[in-house]
Amino acid sequence: MSRVFLSLLMVLVLTQGLCAQTNYGVDAQERVVRLPEDGLKWHLSVVGQDTQYREVLGWFDIVPNLKALKSKVLFHQVTPSDPIYSERYAPNIKALPTVRLQDERGVVIFEAAGKNLPMTGEGLYAAIASAVNGSEELLPWRRKNRQPAPSPQPDPVPDTDPAPQPLDNGGAPALEPVDEYPITLIVACIALLVGSIVGQVQASKKYHSGIK
């Protein structure tokens, strides 16, 4: 009986030793199985340092629409004392405080600074929504050329925000794509053509009258 017990003990000790060796240096197990794919998220920066800055920051925790927006973007609170400010904000900030919304490539979709900031959170949200929708209206071909806006996906890390969607209110309206040759341009070209023909005829008349 004691031999069997000793044998079992030996096997246990050997197994423990092997496990310890496996765990040393290179661990054969990934720490995070599913990584958050949030590279397409939009960025919302609130930059400032005074009481107005803190008030604007507060809107993102109080106003429901702004709160929802905050949870769907990568949200940045930046003060001039932050190490990141001097290189990445100071050269391109017009005034403090600033609220800036950028898409995943860095293109500024909305920015309001200093006195141009709306005086209420609801006003700020309306301005952001207008800018987001307006950007799609002004550049309707974006929807053709860009990847579709990612829809919310399950996220393995509880604290990590869901995938980017610009706004809760449905984002950009579904607009018809604009023709590559706008109608106004074609009309202008026809007018130019007619004008040139009339001009030629009149010049020809003058020329003939001059001979007379």
Binding site: N23, G25, V26, D27, A28, E30, R31, V32, L35, P36, E37, D38, G39, H43, S45, L74, F75, H76, Q77, D82, P83, I84, S86, E87, R88, N92, R100, Q102, E104, R105, G106, V107, V108, L139, W141, R142, N145, R146, V157, D159, T160, D161, E180, Y181, L185, A188, C189, L192, L193, G195, S196, G199, Q200
Partner: protein, 182 residues
């Protein structure tokens, strides 16, 4: 006649409508100078390259307080197990591979977080701040004044022969610099 020529020019211009183009930052993880942590000698006289790299990434991801605490609290050489234990003790969210998985590096750069990567046969850690089809860009904590550009395959060969360990923290990376659409 000149009107007709002008008309042809206008119509020819219509062919020139191009899709939107935006320039991207390079490196993607463009850590500002003030956020880069230089290597230092710890209490045991060992270099602190792993901690220096993590501190730079913490600052890039807006965790200034954690970075300051980390600098005061830790130092010297570090193993994967030791660093993971420290992250878990501090409640710091992180992700890592110790299997030389290139997809992990691509994910870290794609999400603009960057990651620490082992080099020099596993004796040193630097930050991977860019990885595309041609090049890898590194930020070495022993020379934080400049980025190091190496061919992608050269870097991958170095990394895979240095235990293939890569690790990063999981917070929001800094916003991109404003880009111009042209």
């Amino acid at each position: 006649m000149k009107y007709l020529f002008l008309l042809i020019l206008v119509l020819a211009g219509c062919e020139g409508i191009r899709p939107q183009q935006v320039s991207f930052e390079r490196p993607v993880v463009n850590v500002p100078r003030e956020c880069r942590q230089s290597n230092w000698l710890g209490s045991l006289g060992q270099g602190s390259c792993v901690h220096a790299t993590m501190i730079s990434l913490l600052r890039w991801q807006g965790r200034y307080d954690t970075a300051a605490q980390w600098k005061n609290k830790y130092g010297n050489g570090e193993s994967p197990e030791g660093l993971v234990a420290k992250f878990e003790a501090n409640g710091t969210r992180f992700a890592e591979t110790t299997l030389g998985d290139v997809a992990f590096l691509e994910w870290a750069v794609r999400t603009r977080r960057g990651c620490g990567v082992t080099v020099m046969g596993g004796k040193h850690m630097v930050a991977l701040v860019h990885l595309d089809n041609q090049f890898a860009i590194l930020l070495d904590n022993n020379r934080v004044d400049r980025f190091i550009v190496v061919p992608r395959e050269t870097f991958l060969a170095e990394w895979k022969n240095s235990y293939g360990w890569a690790i990063t923290i999981l917070y929001a990376p800094a916003a991109p610099l404003p880009q111009v659409v042209f």
